[in-house]
């Protein structure tokens, strides 16, 4: 049963990613990325990580995709691409390199490595256990994230201020 759910979700995730890559319209790309993120959230649930399931849906599917859609529509940048092909020979090289990377990961990850198999304990990823680790062992990194977010806020405000100054000149 679990395997069936995994199979369907994995197919949905890969289709979402491929459609994101191939669609010409940036709005469609963002929506396919949303599909991919949702599928990965379901996989988190299968991996017994309910806290990350909620975080994935709220931050990625909620905040980040909305931000992407907002910027795409604000700029009107849906279709500004590839009237002329500037890549030329680089495109087949990129595809060959991608296939090589995939083959390499499969050989190293699945052929040679001794992967640990899934354990039986069910509550190691419960929100209580995650919160306990987050606020005891990993308290300092947790506080440092506030500085990262503060830096991001200041960065966005500074960028916007420069924009305004240029507009007024």
């Amino acid at each position: 049963m679990e395997l069936v759910i995994f199979g369907i979700t994995a197919i949905v995730a890969v289709i979402g990613a491929l459609a994101m890559l191939l669609s010409r319209n940036a709005v469609h790309s963002a929506l396919f990325l949303l599909l991919n993120f949702s599928a990965i959230a379901v996989l988190y649930l299968l991996l017994r990580a309910p806290f990350l399931f909620a975080i994935q849906l709220i931050i990625y599917a909620g905040a980040i995709i909305v931000l992407f859609l907002f910027v795409v529509m604000l700029l009107g940048a849906e279709q500004v691409e590839e009237e002329r092909d500037t890549l030329g020979w680089q495109r087949p090289v990129a595809i060959i390199m991608g296939v090589l990377l995939l083959a390499e990961v499969f050989v190293v990850g699945l052929g040679g490595a001794n992967l640990p198999q899934a354990g039986q304990q069910t509550d190691f990823g419960s929100p209580e256990r995650v919160a306990e680790a987050l606020f005891t062992t990993y308290l300092l990194p947790f506080e440092v994230t506030s500085i990262i977010i503060l830096a991001a806020i200041i960065g966005v405000v500074v960028l916007h201020l420069q924009e305004k100054r240029q507009a007024s000149e």
Binding site: F6, A10, V14, A17, L18, M20, L21, A26, S29, L33, N36, I40, L43, Y44, L46, L47, R48, A49, F51, L52, I55, I59, I64, L67, F68, V71, L74, L75, A77, V80, E81, E82, L87, R91, A94, M97, G98, V99, L102, V105, G109, L110, L115, P116, A118, G119, G125, A133, L134, Y138, T145, I149, A152, G155, V156, L159, H160, Q162, E163, Q166
Partner: protein, 100 residues
Amino acid sequence: MIPTGYYIALAAVLFTIGVLGVLIRRNALIVFMSVELMLNSANLALVAFANARQDTAGQILVFFVIVVAAAEVAVGLALLVTIFRTKRTTSVDEINLLRG
């Protein structure tokens, strides 16, 4: 019970699609989405290993990756908007000067 290898294989496939997106597409917004896809596939691998080893640390790391990704998207999209205001394009081929 699903073998850990299946999750790692799926993460590898998604990561490769992300790499191809960065290499092939010229729209900076799509390149950005591909970077997000790669971050997500790494997160998936981390959660799979956390499940296999019955260790919460993997999930904590994913939490921090998501926080950094959110901050990165906010700054990156602000940069893109600024570039678009001055150069009227989001193609990474046209954005070839360090000055504005």
